[in-house]
């Protein structure tokens, strides 16, 4: 899915947005434009400002500087209940005193929708998240995954223009998480709605989002489609936070045939070359001594040191023979795999 962020009015636009807590600049000059219908991930470690950005969109926080628009409408000073965005909270925030049906119908009730109509819409919303028939139960009687679906139905039933999800899969176990991932994605596609989700899990961001914004220390350090963020990390931080990467200094990159710039090198781009085999075109071959091997199922992760003292991590097929600590191996590094990093940080 290719989205032109420049033409249409963005679903969400930040211009120089700042939010301070005391002396801490939680959000420190963020610019972003999220396209309508986009599945947008805000990825970063805890304290990087991603959750505060989500709360700024929802209206739970107000910016100290800068400008925020939702579908062209300026929202600074607008309380959460006057914004056409809804949130799925990390702890789901289901009302414990209300039944599942009344939880979902809550947003309609406060808007003055009649009992029969809101019950019908709540039933439909629950059916959409595959929870038909649970209307009369209490949230406490549901499993974690079911509660999350209720929270989703409750947010979607009021037809928001943007759906915000705060670590939506954080509290679920692995199996359920994978299931919810594809379901969220399917739901977003079916509804054509703008989803903005916050996560610290790079795998989640890469697999679900159309575009990923990587946050560090209150700023966005890189934003782009998952492939771009992963393949061409702009900074050391992105290279290390999104997946794992070898970070090479300018001279080291040049010695392997890359540009004389600090560069990143993904471990899976490094191949093992049999002793005596000729080096292919455009590939640097270096000898290195294996210092550690860890088996990770499909791959073995090999840590090796070259003669000039460069430590490289390589992911090689688990079937590769003769890779044990202390052995000398030949590492093949394609020059194209060395990705120069422009940005600092």
């Amino acid at each position: 899915m290719h989205l032109q962020t420049s033409t249409a009015t963005p679903a969400v636009r930040f211009q120089g947005v700042e939010r301070h807590f005391g002396h801490v600049r939680a959000v420190d000059g963020v610019d972003l434009a999220i396209a309508p219908g986009e599945f947008f991930a805000m990825l970063g470690p805890s304290g990087s400002g991603k959750t505060t950005c989500l709360r700024l969109i929802a209206g739970f926080e107000q910016p100290d500087a800068g400008h925020i628009e939702i579908f062209g409408e300026t929202v600074e000073g607008l309380p959460p209940y006057r914004r056409a965005v809804n949130t799925v909270f990390q702890d789901y925030a289901l009302f414990p005193h209300l039944s599942v049906g009344d939880n979902v119908a809550y947003g309609l009730k406060v808007r003055g929708v009649g009992r029969a109509e809101r019950d019908r819409l709540a039933r439909e919303a629950l059916a959409m998240v595959k929870l038909a028939g649970t209307e009369t139960r209490r949230p406490s009687q549901l499993s974690g995954g079911q509660r999350q679906r209720v929270a989703l139905a409750r947010a979607l039933v009021v037809r928001p223009k943007v759906l915000l999800l705060d670590e939506p899969l954080g509290a679920l176990d692995l199996k359920l998480r994978e299931e919810m991932q594809s379901e969220l994605k399917g739901l977003q596609r079916a509804l054509g709605l703008t989803f903005v989700f916050v996560t610290h899990d790079q795998g989640e961001a890469l697999s679900m989002a159309d575009r990923v914004a990587v946050f560090n220390e209150g700023r966005i350090v890189q934003v782009g489609p998952p492939e771009e963020v992963y393949e061409r990390p702009a900074t050391r931080f992105v290279a290390r936070f999104v997946g794992s990467a070898n970070v090479l200094e300018a001279a080291q990159a040049a010695s392997l045939g890359g540009a004389a710039r600090p560069s990143s090198l993904r471990p899976e781009k490094i191949a093992l070359l049999a002793h005596g085999a000729p080096a292919p075109e455009g590939v640097a071959v270096i000898e290195a001594r294996v210092i550690d091997v860890s088996y990770q199922g499909p791959v073995r992760r090999v840590t090796a040191v070259t003669e000039p003292g460069l430590t490289l991590a390589a992911a090689v097929p688990a079937s590769a023979a003769g890779v044990i600590a202390g052995a000398t191996v030949r590492l093949a590094v394609p020059a194209a795999a060395l990705v120069p990093m422009e940005g600092e940080g």
Binding site: F89, A93, F95, H97
Partner: protein, 266 residues
């Protein structure tokens, strides 16, 4: 589960007896025929004191005043205590700790200090003693009970519930009515009942802030000096036990159930 040794059981029973046997004596002497002293065993039994109480207007005036004062003080405490709890439960601001201490202080302060302080304050402001001054005096400690109950429940409530409500389109009043109140309702009921019971049998602060009116406890105190018709006070005392004990019992059961509900939020 281990079984308690016999000596511990006897000690526990002794403690309970020490606390509650005097109450049984109050009940016993409601029915005595001897009206000048409490001789044991009572020389005879009669129901006539209940009739006497029924016909004495001063008792019913005192009961009426006490109920009125307790009801008003409880209403004031519910409104102000809830507001204070709302402000202090979550928010962080300069002076939060001293303010919450000041809120709880009146219940720790000896009633006599509160009483004198209020009496002097009313005197300086030239406010005549009336039902209103008694109510204000009682409200000082009733607020604490409501506040304590409400603040404990609010702190257990997930703060994202309030955000979720506003996120879904509810303004502050709707959020309070539809989310906050249902979740702290039982705590408020319990706090209100406790406040009512505290106010209903309060003597010390009342002594300092009442004018000519006498509440039920004040009436009983003055009755003790009279040599005749002693069992009348016993009958009234039993009434007081009923009026204060039943709400406290109800409050106990309500908060116990409330915990099961409030704890299931996550």
């Amino acid at each position: 589960m281990t079984r308690a040794p016999l000596s511990l059981k006897i000690a526990a029973l002794g403690g309970l007896a020490f606390l509650h046997v005097p109450l049984l004596f109050i009940l016993l002497y409601c029915f005595t025929t001897e009206e000048k002293s409490y001789a044991f065993p009572p020389p005879g039994f009669t129901l006539k004191w209940f009739g006497v109480v029924w016909e004495r207007a001063d008792i019913w005036a005192a009961v009426g005043l006490s109920l009125k004062v307790a009801a008003l003080a409880t209403v004031i405490a519910l409104v102000l205590g809830t507001l204070a709890a709302g402000a202090l439960a979550r928010a962080r601001f300069f002076g939060r700790e001293p303010v919450s201490l000041l809120f709880v202080l009146p219940i720790a302060l000896p009633g006599i200090v509160t009483g004198i302080a209020l009496r002097q304050a009313f005197g300086m402001m030239e406010i005549p003693f009336s039902v209103f001054t008694i109510v204000l005096g009682h409200a000082t400690f009733c607020i604490v009970v409501v506040y304590n109950n409400a603040v404990a429940r609010l702190r257990r409530l997930s703060p994202s519930l309030i955000e979720a409500s506003m996120d879904l389109g509810a303004d502050a009043f709707q959020t309070f009515r539809l989310v906050v109140l249902p979740n702290i309702g039982t705590a408020l009921l319990a706090g209100g009942m406790l406040a009512f019971a505290l106010s209903f049998d309060e003597v010390i602060v009342t002594t300092f802030t009442a004018g000519q009116q006498s509440t039920l406890p004040i009436w009983m105190l003055s009755e003790l000096i009279r040599p005749r018709q002693r069992p009348v006070t016993n009958v009234v005392a039993v009434l007081v036990i009923l009026v204060t004990f039943l709400p406290i019992l109800a409050a106990y059961y309500l908060t116990r159930e409330g915990e099961a509900v409030a704890g299931s939020g996550k």
